[in-house]
């Protein structure tokens, strides 16, 4: 009801705004400029089946009212979008109310498990160190109520990408939150029910209003003017494609199709005010302007995709949901404890059932300040386009802070335990300093685009630190190169666009140390590079446009190749057919310290490799989960998401 009320209010405001303008203005445009489309995007995923059946209707409108409210060219613009993704109905076995099932969890090399279960896997909630252990001998921190946290509707974290391989895995509830509320306890964060997933725009933030803003200019001279734009909008900084180095003002929705949708379609519009002073040409610059941006909207993070949905970048949504379920209801974790550590004559590892409030993710702390904003000086000097940027914002990717109180699984004591995988989600404040350039070198007929940023305040997972995270300043840069080149044997009359980019990231405060059983510290690479290449051609008056996009993550050794053909059937109909194929390493090829040997409850959790059993801290036993995803990156962690994609659009 609350949603409907908000929607009606917003629609009413839109109509009112339009109506006021329309009746009182000396209109420059006599009519509203309107356009829109309806579209179906159907994607088929290898090994899964239908992964998307998204039906979209979008309507855009704008009108120039001429001089109004003291401004020239007063214009009102808006974009409405409604989506119904039928995949949750058509493929409910994978993504809807029938998704998941009962799962068992690995006890790697455990002879005890072999004896009890007839194999190395034990069912959810029936671990040897847990509900399946000897009654009365199991500490309270290793018991949970399976009747309220049953073995159904589950997947094993990462099961679509890799086997457990002796590492930790957790059970992930994968059904929409109205069908299974486990792991949906993070307030307004990854807690979508079926209708939220089917109709993602119809939420409390009124995302069906993609944009609604007014703008106008106030001349201050022949060349100079103030320009204002206020409302729900996208503010785009930067000069590069795909990578968001400077383009950080709006968060993005990766749940639509990972990193592969146009940013135009996945930026999450925010209520933003911009004021720009445009000098135009000056004595020195061909063009110069200063923009001040204030995002006065409520903070929203990137949408990473909920666990159990088709597009969950880095599979982070699954991890968060699994961990929230651990905190609220308890959970089973595979291969967590050496069997010998609990007195068994067994060389293997055994799964453990954790009670609620021991490990997991407790809550999410959303920033409440409406204080994101920045400034950009942009211009053209001697044919070189440039910008200098500063932006203060909240990190749009979540960080896990381990400084919360939880229960010692062995003693029941409540305290803030160092090196314990019990977290709150935070979005720290970040200061970004950056700049960009573009220039053209005629001798080689090539355009160069450069962006670089330096940020302070970002936080990263760090298994060395007692709270399992630390800050690092970060340098990021992108070099883009565009060249139009004839490839005569493919097309004698029309050049191909060849566009390459290299993205680099350097963590200035990166920490990585050798420990007895492996590396500990930050799973993110200290230095990493991702390269992209686009080759695009046009035929038949540009109505047929084949292209191939390739991307490769240097450290993850993972890549994507996405060939497609875009057919503009006529001014109304457009068909895009393509593939998205991954190659190289997958998530299963990346391991990192998983904190099984973090010894959070000394001395009970100390391993033989701990020099001081009373001292918490990791000795580096590693697995794919949960931190391998950071080393796999968005390409490697989606290695099993090869797709055939068809999009049909009708424009009006």
């Amino acid at each position: 009801m609350k949603k409907i009320s908000k929607i009606l209010t917003a629609l009413g405001s839109t109509t009112l705004l339009a109506g006021v303008g329309a009746t009182g203005a000396h209109a420059q445009d006599e009519q509203w400029d309107t356009a829109g489309f309806v579209e179906n995007a159907t994607f088929y995923r290898d090994g899964v089946g239908l992964s998307k059946s998204r039906n979209t209707g979008q309507f855009e409108f704008s009108k120039d009212f001429g001089k109004k409210f003291g401004m020239n060219n007063f214009r009102v613009s808006g974009t409405l979008r409604a989506t119904y993704d039928a995949v949750y109905d058509l493929n409910s076995e994978d993504y809807g109310h029938d998704a998941g099932g009962s799962r068992s969890f690995e006890n790697f090399g455990s002879t005890t498990a072999q004896a009890i279960y007839g194999g190395t896997d034990s069912p959810w909630g029936q671990s040897i160190l847990g509900n399946g252990g000897p009654p009365g001998a199991i500490p309270p921190g290793f018991l949970y109520d399976v009747s309220s946290n049953p073995n159904r509707g589950l997947k094993v974290l990462g099961e679509d990408m890799h086997d457990p391989m002796g590492g930790v895995t957790i059970g992930v509830p994968v059904r929409p939150c109205d069908k299974d509320s486990r792991g949906c306890g993070l307030d307004d964060y990854m807690d979508y029910d079926t209708n939220d997933l089917r109709f993602p725009e119809f939420n409390d933030e009124l995302d069906f209003i993609r944009e609604l803003y007014f703008e106008g200019s106030v001349p201050t001279g022949d060349m100079s003017e103030w320009f204002f734009r206020v409302g729900k909008q996208q503010v785009v900084w930067g000069r590069t494609d795909l990578f968001r180095v400077l383009d950080v003002i709006n968060p993005v929705d990766f749940s639509r199709q990972n990193i592969y949708d146009e940013l135009e379609d996945i930026r999450i519009p925010q209520w933003i005010a911009t004021a720009e002073y445009r000098w135009g040409a000056t004595d020195i610059f061909d063009d110069l302007n200063l923009q001040v941006v204030w995002n006065f909207d409520q903070f929203r993070p990137n949408d990473l995709g909920q666990g159990g949905t088709p597009y969950s970048i880095l599979d982070a949504g699954s991890f968060f949901r699994a961990m929230n379920n651990c905190w609220e209801n308890g959970c089973t974790v595979s291969n967590f404890v050496p069997a010998g550590a609990i007195g068994l004559d067994d060389p293997g590892l055994i799964a453990a059932d954790f009670a609620p409030g021991v490990i997991g993710i407790r809550k999410v702390d959303m920033p409440s300040g409406h204080d994101q904003g920045g400034i950009k000086l942009e211009g053209v000097y001697k044919s070189v386009g440039f910008s200098l940027n500063y932006y203060h914002y909240y990190q749009q990717l979540p960080t896990l802070r381990g400084d919360i109180e939880s229960m010692n699984a062995f003693t029941g004591e409540i305290a803030d335990w160092d090196h314990l995988i019990a977290f709150d989600i935070n979005f720290p404040e970040v200061d970004l300093f950056g700049g960009s350039l573009d220039f053209y070198i005629d001798a080689i007929k090539t355009v160069f685009r450069v962006e670089a940023t330096y940020t302070q305040g970002e936080e990263f997972a760090n298994s060395i630190e007692p709270d399992l995270y630390s800050e690092s300043d970060v340098m990021r840069w992108v070099l883009g190169v565009d060249r139009n080149t004839f490839i005569p044997f493919l097309n004698k009359k029309r050049a191909f666009l060849i566009s390459g980019q290299v993205f680099g990231q350097h963590l200035l405060d990166h920490e990585l140390e050798k420990a007895p059983l492996g590396d500990i510290g930050m799973p993110d690479w200290e230095d990493n590079y991702i390269a992209t290449l686009l080759i695009k051609g046009w035929y038949k008056s540009d109505t047929i446009s084949p292209q191939i996009i390739m991307a490769y993550d240097y450290e993850a050794e993972a890549g994507t190749v996405a060939p497609s053909v875009d057919w503009l059937i006529n001014d109304n109909w457009r068909l895009i057919v393509g593939f998205n194929i991954k190659f190289g390493d997958g998530m299963g090829d990346q391991e990192f310290d998983d904190c099984r040997t973090c010894n959070p409850f000394p001395p009970f959790t100390a391993s033989p490799a701990h020099a001081d059993p009373m001292q918490s801290g990791s000795v580096g036993l590693s697995g794919v989960q949960p931190l391998g995803r950071f080393r796999s990156g968005p390409l490697g962690s989606a290695s099993e998401e090869d797709e055939f994609q068809v999009t049909l659009r009708y424009r009006f």
Binding site: R239, E264, F285, V380, R449, F486, A495, S541, T543, R574
Partner: protein
């Protein structure tokens, strides 16, 4: 004493004679029909040239037009040759600059030019750089005056065989000269012009949806040897991208036209070798817009109607043609990788517009036939009267090899208010975009 007086008189006579000669040069250049219209045997006002009589008038037609008429693709209505007088201040600027302008040592260099037509003298076949001088006359021509807009501008992509209209794009085009201005303030140039720009072109796509909000901005330096700066704003990316010159010589938004084809030739003098091939009288698409039978499908709210198209595939404007004096000018690209081997321009001697251009592919075969119909400003929109601008009013770019054409229907407006300098900035593209 007598000797001194005689010398003085002789000098005065010589100067007077020289001034008179210079005046003749300018008058001959700008008013070639002052002593009467050219003629061609058998050609009469009001007649039609078509497949049945094309051979008779072959020498009064460019080769592509002859072939089209001979093939019966369309019929040419012959009208009276009329004078398209350019704006008087432009003519006066030419007079002021007479004898002060010279070519530099290198292609693309010019010295002493202020405004007007740099080289009003008749080209000479004996002058190895005559073609280059004609190219300069075109570059600094009064094409669209100091500023103008095509507002709006419809492009239709058509199949020559079936006549099917595959795409219709609606644009606004804006042109602004930063320097060498003669009519609208500031004259002769803008004060704040740190990159010493000569001209800018700004294009905004209004329809259809897939290319809506696409914008193009071209900055052309006064120094012809400096490369143009070109930016493209793509609506779906919401980003301004700088274009490489490869995109200048590529089909623009799928049309049969490349950016370099705009206005007949939209590039640098220094990108081409220029050769003057002779002077002749041929039929050119010059007409009075208001006297035509106009299109009824795209009527503007002010009642303005666009030039209509017909003939084979709907690729040919329904206009009238005049027998006019032309300079035949050939340009061949210096860049070996350029997609064409040469253009042959039929330069209208009076206006220095490029109403007919033939474009040849890299093998040397005729590839495209480029027509830009010129409307007299006094028979067009009310606001265009007296502007002395030969109004680009209809175009057809016919890809003969592909059997395809792109046609253009203009609403050209010589109106400084539509072309304020702040429109021609990169930042304006971001603001106009969404």
């Amino acid at each position: 004493m007598f000797k001194k007086t005689a010398t003085t008189l002789a000098l005065a006579a010589a100067i007077g004679s020289s001034q008179s000669a210079m005046a003749d040069v300018v008058d001959n250049s700008f008013y070639p029909y002052k002593d009467g219209a050219p003629s061609f045997p058998g050609l009469e006002v009001g007649m039609t040239i078509n497949a049945s009589n094309a051979d008779q008038f072959k020498d009064a037609l460019d080769p592509a037009t002859y072939e089209q008429l001979k093939n019966g693709w369309w019929e040419m209505q012959v009208a009276e040759t009329t004078s398209f007088d350019l704006y008087p201040a432009y003519v006066e600027a030419t007079r002021s600059g007479m004898g002060k302008v010279s070519l530099g040592d290198e292609l693309g260099q010019i010295n002493g030019f202020v405004a007007g037509r740099p080289f009003p003298e008749e080209p000479s076949a004996d002058d190895p750089r005559a073609g280059e001088k004609l190219a300069w006359n075109y570059k600094y021509g009064y094409n669209w005056g100091d500023s103008a807009a095509i507002y709006p501008f419809y492009w239709k992509y058509r199949d020559l065989e079936s006549g099917k209209v595959e795409r219709t794009l609606k644009y606004n085009f804006h042109f602004l000269n930063y320097k060498h201005r003669v009519q609208h303030d500031p004259v002769p140039e803008f004060a704040d012009n740190p990159s010493d720009l000569f001209r800018a072109i700004y294009v905004q796509v209004l329809e259809p949806f897939d290319v809506k909000n696409t914008q193009l901005l071209i900055h052309r330096s006064s120094d012809d040897q400096t490369a143009d700066n070109t930016w493209l704003y793509l609506g779906f990316q919401r980003r301004v991208r700088r274009l490489s010159s490869g995109q200048i010589t590529d089909a623009f938004l799928g049309a049969d036209i490349m950016i370099e084809d705009f206005e007949g030739y939209n590039g640098r003098i220094s990108d081409m070798n220029w050769t003057y091939k002779g002077t002749k009288n041929i039929m050119l698409p010059f007409f009075n817009h208001n006297d035509l039978e106009l299109a009824t499908d795209l009527v503007e709210s002010d009642g303005y109607q666009f030039v209509d198209f017909g003939g084979k595939g709907g690729c040919f404007p329904k206009i009238t043609w005049q027998l006019r004096k032309v300079y035949v000018l050939e340009s061949d690209p210096i860049d070996e990788n350029h997609p064409i081997s040469k253009r042959v321009h039929y330069v209208d001697a009076q206006t220095f517009t490029l109403p007919r251009t033939l474009i040849y592919d890299r093998k040397g075969d005729l590839w495209k036939s480029w027509l830009i119909g010129q409307a007299h400003p006094d028979h067009h929109l009310e606001k265009n009267k007296g502007t002395g601008v030969s109004i680009d009013d209809a175009f057809s770019m016919l890809d003969i090899q592909a059997g395809h054409c792109t046609t253009g229907q203009f609403k050209g407006q010589v109106d400084p208010e539509l072309n304020q300098v702040k429109l021609f900035t990169v930042q304006n593209m971001r603001a106009k975009g969404r």
